[in-house]
Every structure is written in C-alpha cells, then in structure tokens.
C-alpha cells in the first residue's frame, strides 16, 4: 500500500488472532439462519440467488434448444409459453433485481462506509426470508402447473383468461418485492446515518452512490408494482374488477402501472453494475476516477429519469401519439447520463496503469457490451423504429445485452473482485481470466445474432419459425453461443468453490485497491472493523508517483517468476 493516508488504521484493524472472522465465529445452522450479520446474510443471498439463477438458466437452455429447428424440437406451444415465462420471472424477480444489491451490496455497503452493520440487521434477515418465501411460492406455482403469461402479466389475459398458477406466482412476486423494498429502506438509512467519521458524501465509493440510487428506485417503484400485481390477484380471487374491460375497466392501465415499476426495475438491475464497474475501472487502472461527481450524479439522474420513460414500452398500445413522443424524447435523455459514465470510465483508463486481472477483463467486456446494449436501446426508444421492432428478437437481444452483458458481467466482475474479501481465499486468476473471455465470447455469440433475427422479423415468444426457415442459421449460432456462455457460467462455480478448499489465503488487500473494505481483514471480523475507522483521504486516492514506482517493481517481480497466474500486487504489505 503506497498511499500514506489510506494506511491509517490498517494495522489496528487487523485482528490479533486472524482466525476469528464472520465465517468461523459460529458454525451451527441456526447461527446462519438467525444471523443479523450483513455479511452472513449476503452469503445466504449468494447461495439462494445462485440457485434461482441455475433454474432460470435451465429454462433458457430449453428455449435455445427448442429454437434450433424451424418447427420446434421438443416443446408444445403451451409448455414453451410456461418455460419462457418461468425464465423471465425467475431471472428478473429472483436473480437480477436482488443479485447485486442483496449479495454484494449487503456485504460491502457497511464495509465501504465504515459501519459495523446495516442500520436494521433483523429487517435485513427478514428481507432474505421474504425473498425465500416469495421464491418458494413462485417455484410451487411453476411446478404445480406453471404460468403462461410471460413475466409481464398483461391483463386481461392474466386476470381473466389464463388457467395457470398466476395467483400463486403473483403472490410470490409480491412477497419477494417486499424483500426488495426493505433492502432499499435499510440501505437508505445506512448510507444517510451510518457513515464513519470523515466519510463525507463525496468520499463515498461510487458503488455506494449506485446502491443509493438503486434503493431510491426500489422504495419508490416496487410498491407500485406490488399493488398492481395484488390487484390482479384480487381480480382473480375475489372478482374485484379493476382492469376488466367488459365492465369499463382499463387493461392498458395495468401496463402503465406495471411499467412504471418495471422500467425503473431495469435500472435497479443495471445501476448496481455501474457501481461495480466504477470500482473496478478505478482500482485496476490505479487512477482516481475521472469526473467522480459526474459519475455519482449520473446514477441519480438515471434513477430520476427512469420514472419518466415507462411509456416507451407501450408505443403500440392504445397510448396517445403525443404521449409517445414525450416518452420517446425523455427516453433519449437517459442516454446522456449513461454516456457520461461510459466516457468517464474510458477516460479513467486513459493513461492509467491498467492491470488485466480477471475482474478488469469483465469490466472491459462490460464497457463494450453495455455500449451496444445502450445504443440499440435508442432504436427501441424511437417511435418509428420501435413499431417495426416491437416484440421481435431485437428487443430480446437489446435487453439481454443490458441485463446479461451489463448486470451479469458486472456481478461476475464484482464477485471475482470481492471474493478474496468475502471468503479470505484467492482463486486461480489464470482460469478466471480465461473464463471472462469465454463469457464474453459466449455472450456475444448468443445474443448478437438475435439482433439480426429481430431486424429480419423473428417474433419473440414463438417456439417455431417454419414461416422463415432461413432464420435457422442465426438460431443455431445463438444456441451454440448459449452453450459456451453456460459453460462460462458454470466454471466459476467450480474454481471459486475450489478456492475455498485449496485457495491461498488472501491478505487484507490482495489487489492493492483503495477503499475502507480493504483495510480490514479478509474475511472481515463480525464487527467489520475492530475500531471505527476515521476517513481522512479522498476516494480512489492513488498517488501517481508511487503507483509508477510500484508498477516498475511489480514488472520486475512478474518477469522473474514463472508463476504468472498469481496476483502481482499481493505482496505489497
């Protein structure tokens, strides 16, 4: 650690007996299931969200397999509807929304701001239970008949006609939604009131700013979708007519309310990834982030604008043309803060001391993929092109570029970056780098052909395309890519788990990174810091001169050793 300011407190925050940390302090099952420790709750979320991700991926695999032939392969239309609905519902409500906030955010937020825990530890635990109960109901619904409405539950199909387990699944999503609201409340209270002395708002790591913006969206958006879905449940169970067109109700009103949440929900999924990428880019370029304030406020701007663009999902509904024009204009505005981020990250890398370790490779992959995902969003935000592209594979490709290429890559990058902190173990960075490349290739092979398919007219949610057999080449390309991507997603499960068994012990700061979370032991003790840290230096305060000297030393060491796969900065201390 070269910067003198950040080393303050480092020694006193390393426990005398390194063996006692949040993982080994207690071993009973009840010590996990009844814990109030944000780090343990993050681990519970990690295991359970990975499980849901696995289920969602199986559904995705079935979809891709079905589409390898123009006539479909194994699934009936009805089954196919249930499979893609299951894929969407599980991935969005049980993985993408909670993944980064509830796993990495939960773990890191108190560490990054120098707090002992989140503001409301029991509420935090309750949120995990709500997540699990919601998830269980969703799964029971899926197993006991499935849902065929798609993840969007458009009325009146969902409220009046669908004979599937819509009620059960909606109740599950409702409960799971409250887990998201309580997480948001916890984060907002924590960020406002639990910062360590000296941790001013503009010394907060950008990940914390991203978490703050995400929490605002969770608090303001989720209740709206919760009540909307509840009204559909009421309509199914108690015959309360709210969206029934035959009584004068307005089914399109459901779409308005649904997208009022579900567009911001897209930012709930991507903003945390932005936060991770800011951390990765700054720390692996070994430079202070370019335009800190702009990156921080662009997250808030995205959160704010996110509430004003829902109508761009409804250009082909009965929405008025003038409404569409306004929604379209505001949607284009979202490109501004997003571009600010991309440009600032790129500028941060410019003349930085870039270290291509596995988290950084994910981050660089993210930059490219998110740019494609963002720019194709402009096609869909324009009223003219959208009418041509609505409900085609172009839309599917676009949001997978943002959700998978953005959120999932950000999550994987963050998981690799903070894994040594979370577990105290180093994984094999060589395999991890190769894996990052596999994921990047697999991802693009899966979803880029879908842009072309969509442009040519392949509709989404169809399980056959015998009307256009020429699409098959692209579909097979996409399915091949999904196998590569699937391999790249399974591999980390193995080498990360292996690191727990035979990984080298990680020091407090294996990457030589900046941030309070790197000043305490890995894994951190239960109270995070043995003494409350006092923050005196700015965020990402890399000193250019010592960075250069350190880099020269690392280069010498790297050249003199045969083990190129170890972490070059490991021996800084």
């Amino acid at each position: 650690m070269s910067s003198p300011a950040i080393t303050k407190g480092e020694l006193k925050n390393q426990p005398q007996n390194e063996e006692v940390n949040y993982l080994n302090v207690e071993h009973t099952i009840s010590s996990w299931l009844l814990t109030g420790d944000h780090k343990r709750i993050a681990m519970l979320y990690l295991v359970s969200a990975s499980f849901f991700f696995f289920l969602g991926s199986i559904a995705a695999g079935l979809i891709r397999f079905e589409l390898t032939s123009p006539a479909g392969v194994v699934l009936e239309s009805e089954t196919y509807n249930k499979i893609f609905s299951a894929h969407g519902i599980i991935m969005i409500f049980q993985f993408l929304v909670p993944a980064i906030p509830a796993i990495l955010g939960n773990f890191l937020l108190p560490l990054m701001i120098g707090a002992r825990d989140l503001a409301f530890p029991r509420l935090n635990l309750a949120s995990w239970y709500m997540f699990m109960v919601g998830g269980a109901l969703i799964l029971i619904g899926m197993i006991g008949g499935g849902v065929d409405t798609g993840w969007t539950f458009y009325t009146p199909y969902s409220s009046m006609y669908s004979n599937t387990q819509v009620t059960l699944v909606l109740v599950g999503i409702f409960i799971s939604g409250f887990s998201s609201i309580t997480t948001g409340i916890n984060f907002v209270a924590t960020i406002h009131k639990m910062r360590a002395p000296g941790m001013t708002w503009f010394r907060l790591p950008l990940f914390v700013w991203a978490m703050y913006s995400t929490s605002l969206l969770m608090i303001l958006g989720t209740p709206v979708v919760a009540i909307t879905l509840l009204l559909v449940v009421f309509e199914r169970l108690f015959k309360l007519p709210i969206f029934s067109p035959e009584l004068g109700g307005d089914p399109v009103l459901f779409q308005h309310l649904f997208w009022f949440y579900s567009h911001p929900a897209v930012y709930i999924m991507i903003l945390p990834a932005f936060g991770i990428i800011s951390e990765l880019i700054a720390n692996f370029s070994r430079k202070r982030i370019f335009g800190y304030h702009f990156v921080a406020f662009s997250s808030i701007a995205i959160a704010g604008l996110g509430f004003l663009v829902w109508g761009h999902h409804m250009f082909i509904s009965s929405q008025s043309m003038y409404e569409s024009i306004v929604f379209s204009l505001i949607s284009f505005l979202v490109a501004v803060p997003s571009a600010i981020k991309i440009f600032n990250w790129t500028t941060t890398m410019y003349k930085g001391n870039i270290r291509l370790q596995s988290p950084m490779i994910y981050a660089i992959g993210f930059l490219g993929i998110f740019t494609v995902g963002g720019l194709t969003g402009l096609f869909l935000g324009g009223t003219g092109t959208d009418v041509h592209l609505t409900a085609t594979y172009f839309v599917v490709a676009h949001f997978h570029y943002v959700m998978v290429g953005g959120t999932l890559l950000g999550f994987l990058g963050g998981l690799h970056y903070w894994w040594p902190k979370m577990t105290g173990r180093l994984y094999n960075d060589g395999i991890a780098k190769v894996n990052a490349v596999i994921v990047f290739i697999g991802f693009n092979l899966t979803f880029f052909p879908q842009f072309i398919l969509g442009w040519m007219g392949m509709p989404r949610r169809y399980h056959y395309y015998y009307f256009a057999p020429e699409f098959q080449a692209y579909h097979i390309m996409s399915t091949l890519g999904s196998s590569v991507l699937g391999f790249g997603l399974i591999l980390p499960a193995f080498y990360l788990t292996m690191s727990l068994i035979n990984g080298k012990k990680s020091g407090p700061n294996p990457w030589g990174a900046h941030g309070l979370e790197w000043e305490t032991a890995s894994p951190p003790p239960t109270s995070n810091f043995l003494e409350t840290p006092i923050v005196l230096d700015e965020v990402y305060d890399f000193d250019p001169v010592s960075e250069h000297e350190q880099d020269m030393k690392d280069l010498d060491k790297w050249e003199s050793t045969t083990d190129h796969q170890s972490f070059p900065t490991e021996d800084h201390h």
């Binding site: 509420l123 639990m194 009204l231 709210i242 307005d250 109270s527």
Partner: protein, 243 residues
Amino acid sequence: MSAISNPMDHGHDHGHEPGLHHQYEDMAQQSETYIVGMWTFLVSEVMFFGALFLIYTLYRWNYQLDFYIAHEHLDVKLGAINTTVLLFSSFTMVMAVQSAQLKNRLKVMGYLAVTVLCACTFLVIKYFEYKSKFADHLYPGAGFADDAVKAFGNHALENGHVAVNMNHAQLFYGLYFGMTGLHALHIIVGIGVIISLIRLWFNRANTVIHDYVPTEMVGLYWHFVDLVWIFLFPLFYLMPLPR
C-alpha cells in the same frame, strides 16, 4: 419495526448504554437512523396507496355520474363517525408519544390502549358497513345490485328505468372494497404493532424506556394510516353531484 420486535438482543463485546444496538455509535445516531428508516418506509407506503388513488381518480373521472349514484349507498354518518374515531386515535397516539418523551410509563400504556380501542371501534363500524353492502348484493360479481333502487335509491332511476351503468358501479365497489380493505388491513397490522409496543412498555424493555423514538415510529405509522383514511373518506363518501 425490527428494532422493536426483540429487545433482548444484547451480549456484544463493547460496553454501551442500555437500549443501544451494537451497530450504532450512540443513542443519537440510533434514533436518527430509526426516524430515517421509518420515513423511508412511509414513502414506500405512499407509493403503494398512490397507485390505488391514481386508479380511483382515473375511473371516477371517466364515470362521474355512475360513481355518484353508486356512492349513494355509502353511509356518510358511519363514515364520519369512523373519521372522528380515527382522528381521536391519532390524538391519543400523539399523547402517547409525548408521554414517552416524558418517560411516563403508565400514561404511555394508557394512551396506547385507548388508541387500540379506537382502532377496534373503527373495524367494528367498518364491519357493519360491509355487511350492509353484502346484504344489498353490492359485492362485484354475478348478481351485482340486482335491486338497483333498493341499493342506490331513486337516483338510480330515470323515467322509471335504471339509469346507472351497473358495470361502472361494480368498478366503484371494486375500488371501494379494495381500497378500504387494504386500509383496514393496515389498521389490523397497526393494532398488532401497538399491542406489542404496550407489551414492551409493560415489561420495561430497554428498547422503549430509554428512547422515545421507537414509540414515535409506531406513532408515525399510525398517523399515516389515519391520513390514508382522511383521503378515502371524502373520495368515497363525500361526492358532489357531477354537473
């Protein structure tokens, strides 16, 4: 609410004041954080009911006369009594919070008990209101308001024919049962929360006797529930004849 549910969560290594949880530095930080958390929760509640009010506004705007005729069946007197009961319960809640600030344990418990009593009164009156709606088949579904005159009075008739659009009247009652039902659910939750607060005060739990803020948080929730009714009452019961 988490702070209230388990007052016995102690046993942390560093010494601190009774009633202070381990994640906080001092009582001031704890109280401020509680308040921020509670207000943030209430913001999400506003959004929750906000969507309902939006739906109500839209449909009432579209079907003004039908909503007016449908609302004729609601009993303004009972609604007004319920409004008074809730307003009074908010007053006793304020007194309970003030007594908590003054650390007057018996008064806190007394005022909270009166608040619970008011809440139960509200629910009983609500029960009789619902009952009369069911009696006249005003619950949405098949056979809705089969006797329109009995249900809505003579306003429903025009030249001897039923003038009210029964479909729109069903929408009105769908919203009525949905919105007042969810509000009643909040009242029931509130009763549970207040009773557990009384229990904490009764047991002299550290969580509440050293710091009035947990009591204030319950108070904030209760005022919110009250406030929702303050909007529901005029929207459903006090409708002017549309021009």
